[in-house]
Symmetry: C2
Subunit: 426 residues, 2 copies
Amino acid sequence: MKFTSIVTAAVSSAIAVSGTPIHKREIGGVLLCTGVNATGTCSYSVYALETCHQLPAPFHQNTSTFAPDGEDFECFPRIGDCGSICTSPTGCTFGSVDFNYKNKFNLGAIKWNNLISSFDCSLKTTTSTDCNCIDPLQNTMASITTNASIASFGGRFLKLTHQSSVTGGPMNFTLFLPAGISESAPAPLLIYLSGLTCTPDNVTEKGFLHAHAAPLKLALLYPDTSPRGTSHPGEHDSWDFGSAASFYIDATQEPWAQNYKMETYITKELPELVFSQFKQLDPQRVSIAGHSMGGHGALTLFLKNPGKYKSVSAFSPVSNPSACPWGEKAFTGYLGADKEEWKKHDATELVKHWKGYLNALLDVGTADNFYKQRQLLPENFAEATKAAGIEGLQLRYQDGYDHSYFFISTFGEDHIKHHAKHLGLL
Amino acid sequence: MKFTSIVTAAVSSAIAVSGTPIHKREIGGVLLCTGVNATGTCSYSVYALETCHQLPAPFHQNTSTFAPDGEDFECFPRIGDCGSICTSPTGCTFGSVDFNYKNKFNLGAIKWNNLISSFDCSLKTTTSTDCNCIDPLQNTMASITTNASIASFGGRFLKLTHQSSVTGGPMNFTLFLPAGISESAPAPLLIYLSGLTCTPDNVTEKGFLHAHAAPLKLALLYPDTSPRGTSHPGEHDSWDFGSAASFYIDATQEPWAQNYKMETYITKELPELVFSQFKQLDPQRVSIAGHSMGGHGALTLFLKNPGKYKSVSAFSPVSNPSACPWGEKAFTGYLGADKEEWKKHDATELVKHWKGYLNALLDVGTADNFYKQRQLLPENFAEATKAAGIEGLQLRYQDGYDHSYFFISTFGEDHIKHHAKHLGLL
């Protein structure tokens, strides 16, 4: 068989693989040939997952060999071009083609040798049941385990797990990849930090941020709320300290200092892993948001790292943790009794040192019991910002709204558009 | 004090109370007076809950006595008129006024005697926690218990429970009331039937249908999926039969015939209760939708009751239960072995007798495992409809979507607009 130079055009959105020649059995590796049994003009490349690849000549509607080169992924050949709307009742694909597909070297056997215009590949996954419980069947991509890949609003949610060297245990996270993004047209990323007691699943299922992010081609990253898999004394005893209550800081007090290093995890390890594995995401355009404890996380990580995030937003954020019961308990446990140390992790203190415009949108519900109990104190943050002469803070009080995802989903569109504007999408 | 005739204008949206004089301690009963301590011009009326009431002269921005007449509800006086947008950081209300509010006879004490332009009342409720778990605190309205009232997309979700005489036990349901509806401008109602293993909470939290229904002023009713509170042999042993698996029919076989009468419950008892308690809903404009087993319910109840529902839609519906494992198990258990009986509850059989246009929208995901396993068989329903020469069926296959709420929420806007069109909202 002869290889053609035209092929390079076919792989413009393929993952660049370190070291040539390409190693076989790569995730996303696919052999294309115009002839049966790997004859005629052929192309072997490793293709980015979860994104559409358009076939150029001579393969466009002229591919008889379509051979995925590994057991852990599958591809879906499509009749239509990338971006086209499928109107066929059969779904515009004959289904999944994987390493073991019997006709992969002779698509003519199913009369598809002159039909493929584009294709996309994904890790083999389970689908959801009636009430959306996920079967624990898992597949591995590099250092990330994929628990589920779910189509929604034209894109896909990936429920993922990896082994964190920073937190010393397995960490779950969810990634939303909108349709129509690729390595050549990468999407900016919004990191959303969840609140006390949450896992990445809560916002994935109830936040509906992706409904608004999808049409703007904004990707979403939902990390977990604390290290997992350890059992320090008292770690799992209360809902506002320990597991699911990290407050997104690096603890200095034992035993928490051993692995409660969520600030490092959120700002370094996790994004580096995600950008290394998903080339269709743009590491140069990142923003951060959060809810409640996650709102504190978003505000403080934004303020601690000028320029790292293009914008910040929060729903019902814990805005002055040094002055509220939740924050006092968490900071005492993770940082010790020295309140000077606390100031380094308190948005109301940090904002006093901010230079320039503040691209911040905050929403707080007036029927939020935690707001009424003065756990959130957004007014303190607003006062400190005003006193420092800093412009750009939008703090909105939403009449009658509580602390729940019903509040988040209601105003999610405003937050997504706020970030989209600062990320160059609007 | 003297009563004014102008007051009648103030209560255009008040519930008509049977028997005059109005009984005291009514839910929604509020005494308004221009003077302190129930002096000056006064008006006592029972106001519809969860809807804004505009104050006319002489009460508009001139009310010193604002006295709710019962312990079970609270009211929120507003600075702005009904429909106005609140831009005040204090939320445009000084908060809840209830029976025990100390200044209810002298709002001048808080300088609000010249501020109230409108108000709304609701049952006293809990709010949600970080991850939206509901505190079981309950309040009673007539025969309905309110477990929660949650603001979302400008309207409110009410999580409700009542004692059903048809199913012989307590039944939960969720009602979404959009903003801006009233007895004088009632909203049409879409009944959504959930699938196997679900409760009303799943679609409430994950369906996102209200995001699209709210701006159209379409109300939503989410019933439960089976009778509750009984323990027939085997009732709770399998996820596809018994509890949470009623198939929305009236069972004829013992012991199910005793209380598995969901067809009667969904078509008669529940809507009659809802329309009697919520006068801001229009009993003349009702449509029905559902998911999976609930899609079977929506299709069959629509086809069994010509004219009762203006339109029908379904996500991944069980479309030919007589010919799929789920349906065969359920119909055998609830209806017995006579397959002639089954035909009376099978959409693919019922549609053969339909007269006229079919206002039906069906969506099915091509990555839906239950579709692949031939549990849904929408193609059989489509063939029967076509063979009978019936027009109006829209059956869409959505490429790559599964059976989950991520699929429902993605295409929910299309379904809401389909019903809104047939309910006269578009």
